[in-house]
Every structure is written in structure tokens, then in C-alpha cells.
């Protein structure tokens, strides 16, 4: 290959997400006629997932496939755009914002000082909400002991009256089954179902209402600049296709898992009304606003996202 990019993922190699990313990498190789090779590395194989931005800047890595929110400690703006908790009810809403609603330009601007080129945005699926007790709306969140990752997610849930607990992902199952927590922000429905989460917490909320991460594929600006125009275009389009591919695959898996779960008489799937979702979004918005005060960039994100949501009647 004329160009080789070492790209570190924020997913472990056994993960379904990693496999879809691997397919993307292979596709880039084929589309470029073998001129551009993407070497995908699993999470933590070179640096920790929160350090990839620095690693690209210093020339250790050439790119990343990661959740933007991991860089919240570097700039709260990344936390806010990385998971604008409560903002999105479907993957198309987020992708539309990124590709046509100003998100792309904003991300490009935010990454530029790090010497990192934002190639494109993607996401996984709206996370389903794992719960042992029926939760049909915002009021049911009051006093709920739930696991949520630190940061904006915790703040929003706390603002909604819940009692967020901080636990590593690997301990969620045990904590739920022992009753240490009532509910959890975990991951998409199909994965939860496969992991047996819905068997021990039989009141999942699906589609979820709280969390949809922005996944970004970015590369070193220096290496990007060396690519001829056609390869730059191939890479850009491949990422747009990747976003389509991964969200669709996950949605199909989710639909199958939902079907399987609805056939199980022990599991009750709860779906929040548009009304309740909007209520939750309003609570979340107050927290976005708090978050936005922490840096100028975060304020830019807040203004860009809320403007988009308002124009589209989502706020």
C-alpha cells in the first residue's frame, strides 16, 4: 500500500462493533485499490482510550475510531457533543445533525488545534434502559438507584431525581442481580438481551431515551494532507457508509432481540411516549446549559445542538 494508517479503536477485538469497524477497514483497502491500508488496533493496545487524541497529535497513532465523549477531560465540549444526553431518540437524528446540521463543521473546528482531522461521525444505537422496576416516564426515575457512567449522564439522571451510582461495566450484571442497583445505563438492546440483562432486569425501556454516543473516525491532519484528493474522498465516503452500516446492523439486531424478548412472558418492554421523552430532554437541557458554561467550545456545542433541535421541532 502507498499509505498505511494505524488506527486504534475504543472497542475490544471480540466486540461486534470492532468487527464492523474491521469490515470498514477492509473496504477502504478494496475501494482504494490497495493504495490505502487501515490497520485497526483494539482498545488499549497502544494507548489508553482517553489518550488517543494526544497519541495522534504526537504521531504515535495515525487515527482513531472512538467515542468523542472520552475526551471530556481535555475539553468539556467533547463531553457535550460526545453524548448530548437525552437529545436524540434515533440514530438518524444524530447522523442528520452531524452530516447536514452543522455537526461536521463543528467537530472539524474542535479537533483542528490537536492536529487531528475529523473524517466523519457515526454512532451505535440508542442505548436501551435496563431496569428491574417499571419506568414509564420521568416521574418513575425519582429515587431510582441506577448505574451511570460519570459525567453528563450522571448529572442528567441526578437532575431527574434518580440516584446514580458509579460502577465499572463488568460489575453491572452482578450488581443488578444482587439488587445493589435497580437500573443501569448499559448498551443497546440486542447486546443487553444477549448478556442476559433483560432476564434479571425485566422492565427494559426500548427504544431508550437517554444515551446515544457520537462515534468519530479521525486521522492525523499531517497524514491526511499527504493523501491525494481521490483517497481523501474515498475515506470520507467510506466513513459515511460505515455509519450507515453499523447503525443499520445494530438496529436489525435490536429488532430481532426485541421480538425475542416480547415472546418471553417475564419481560415487559416499556416504550416512552413522545411527551415523556420531551420532558426528559427539557431536564437534560438544563444540564447541557450548566456544562456549556465550562468552556467556550462547550458553549459553541450547546448553541449548535439546541439550534438544530429547535429548528426540527425536537425541543
Amino acid at each position: 500500500a502507498d499509505f498505511t494508517f494505524k488506527v486504534q479503536s475504543s472497542d475490544p477485538s471480540g466486540d461486534k462493533n470492532f468487527q464492523v469497524q474491521q469490515q470498514w477497514a477492509e473496504r477502504v483497502g478494496k475501494m482504494s485499490g490497495g493504495r490505502l491500508e487501515i490497520k485497526l488496533l483494539p482498545v488499549g493496545s497502544v494507548v489508553k482510550h482517553t489518550e488517543t487524541l494526544d497519541a495522534i497529535k504526537m504521531g504515535i497513532l495515525d487515527g482513531q475510531v472512538t467515542a468523542t465523549g472520552y475526551f471530556s477531560g481535555k475539553d468539556p465540549a467533547f463531553g457535550l457533543i460526545g453524548n448530548t444526553v437525552g437529545a436524540w431518540s434515533s440514530t438518524t437524528q444524530l447522523l442528520q445533525y452531524i452530516n447536514y446540521g452543522g455537526g461536521y463543521e463543528l467537530m472539524t473546528e474542535l479537533y483542528a488545534p490537536y492536529g487531528v482531522k475529523f473524517v466523519g461521525g457515526s454512532t451505535t444505537g440508542v442505548e436501551s434502559f435496563v431496569s428491574k422496576v417499571p419506568v414509564d416516564g420521568v416521574d418513575d426515575l425519582k429515587g431510582l438507584k441506577l448505574r451511570a457512567p460519570e459525567g453528563l449522564v450522571q448529572k442528567v439522571f441526578a437532575a431527574a431525581g434518580a440516584a446514580p451510582v458509579n460502577l465499572p461495566g463488568s460489575e453491572v450484571f452482578t450488581a443488578l442481580s444482587k439488587g445493589v442497583i435497580d437500573a443501569a445505563d448499559y448498551t443497546v438492546f440486542s447486546t443487553n438481551q444477549k448478556a442476559g440483562m433483560n432476564d434479571i432486569a425485566q422492565h427494559p425501556v426500548q427504544p431508550g431515551f437517554h444515551s446515544l454516543p457520537l462515534i468519530d473516525i479521525s486521522v492525523s491532519q499531517k497524514k491526511w494532507d499527504k493523501l491525494p484528493a481521490d483517497l481523501q474522498e474515498i475515506l470520507t465516503v467510506s466513513v459515511r457508509d460505515f455509519a450507515q452500516d453499523i447503525t443499520t446492523q445494530l438496529r436489525i439486531a435490536d429488532l430481532q432481540a426485541v421480538k425475542e424478548a416480547s415472546n418471553n412472558p417475564d419481560i415487559t418492554i416499556h416504550d416512552w411516549s413522545a411527551e415523556e421523552r420531551k420532558k426528559f430532554r427539557a431536564i437534560a437541557r438544563s444540564q447541557w446549559e450548566e456544562f456549556a458554561k465550562e468552556s467556550d467550545n462547550a458553549m459553541k456545542v450547546y448553541q449548535s445542538v439546541t439550534a438544530y433541535l429547535e429548528t426540527n421541532g425536537l425541543l
Binding site: 465523549g69 471530556s72 458509579n166
Partner: protein, 179 residues
């Protein structure tokens, strides 16, 4: 516990390290406090986990210099213990030299890492934070501490090297080495 640093710096590191080691007991105390708060008062803290991890991480880094000062880093002594004291002295010189290179390069890497944790890409002072709800600046602090400790280790290796040469000289004059 018997402790003997080779150089004045080593003895100083041991003294500071002994003092700081009590922070391990402090992390026990705050972890216990967190468990009490969670179960007895149903109000978990937001600061214990991150503080404990930060204190622990800092002590781990310092522990490297501490174990070096006390010559307690693990070695494979298969050959090292068998050779003559003259040969062992040459080996020690080699180890100190290698350590010097190691610590020196680490210091360079740590400098790069720490500066990007303390300065925003535009060059203004902005400490890297953890990004959690509490959001302390521990990442920036820990990275700076790593820089400090590897610099200290560089000087440690340098002083060891000087001492090694002193030992070698003593051996050549027919005396005995004390390392």
C-alpha cells in the same frame, strides 16, 4: 525494616517515601468512609474513588524511585550472584548506564505528555481533568508527577553510576566493594 540507601539522594527518597507510604492507610480510611456513607447513610460520595485512584497511582510511581533507592527491584540473579566482585561491579556500571538512558528518555516522553496535559493546544494554561461529575484535575497532576519522578530517577542513576566507579576504583586498589 532495615533500609540503606547508597547515596544521600537515596536516603532522602526513602525518608520521603516512608512518610508518603502512610497515604496507603489514608486511602483505606477514605474507602471505608465511602462504604459507610453508601450503606449506612445511602449517600455515596463522588470524590472517594477518584481520589483513591489518584493517591494510589502517585504512590505507585514514587514506589519505583523508592524501590530503586532501596535496591529492591527484582532481578534474575542466576549469573549476577556467581561472578567475581570485579565483574559484578562492571555489571552494575552497565545497569546504571542503561538506567540513565532509560530515565532520560522517559523524562523526555513525560515532558511531552505533561505539557499537553497542562496546556491547551493553543498554548494557554488549561489542566486536563478527569471528565467525571466531580471533574478533578488529577490527570494533569499525575502526569506532572510522573515527569518529576523520572527526573529524580535520572539523578539517582547518575549518582549510582558515580558510586559504581568509586567501588571499581576501590576494587582495583585491592579493597572491598560494599554493593
Amino acid at each position: 525494616m532495615e533500609q540503606h540507601g547508597r547515596t544521600r539522594l537515596d536516603r532522602w527518597i526513602l525518608w520521603v517515601g516512608n512518610l508518603l507510604s502512610l497515604l496507603f492507610v489514608f486511602t483505606v480510611a477514605i474507602s471505608f468512609f465511602e462504604i459507610l456513607m453508601r450503606y449506612l447513610f445511602n449517600s455515596p460520595t463522588i470524590w472517594v474513588h477518584e481520589s483513591a485512584a489518584f493517591i494510589g497511582g502517585s504512590l505507585f510511581v514514587i514506589g519505583g524511585a523508592y524501590a530503586l533507592a532501596n535496591n529492591k527491584h527484582v532481578r534474575v540473579v542466576l549469573i549476577y550472584d556467581q561472578v567475581s566482585s570485579r565483574a559484578r561491579c562492571y555489571l552494575n556500571i552497565f545497569h546504571s548506564l542503561a538506567g540513565l538512558v532509560f530515565a532520560g528518555m522517559l523524562a523526555y516522553g513525560a515532558w511531552m505528555m505533561a505539557s499537553s496535559a497542562w496546556l491547551s493546544p493553543l498554548g494557554e494554561l488549561r489542566l486536563e481533568r478527569s471528565g467525571s461529575a466531580w471533574n478533578p484535575a488529577f490527570p494533569a497532576l499525575l502526569k506532572a508527577l510522573i515527569l518529576l519522578v523520572v527526573c529524580v530517577m535520572f539523578v539517582q542513576f547518575l549518582l549510582h553510576l558515580l558510586d559504581d566507579f568509586r567501588q571499581l576504583g576501590r576494587l582495583k586498589r585491592g579493597g572491598k566493594a560494599d554493593v
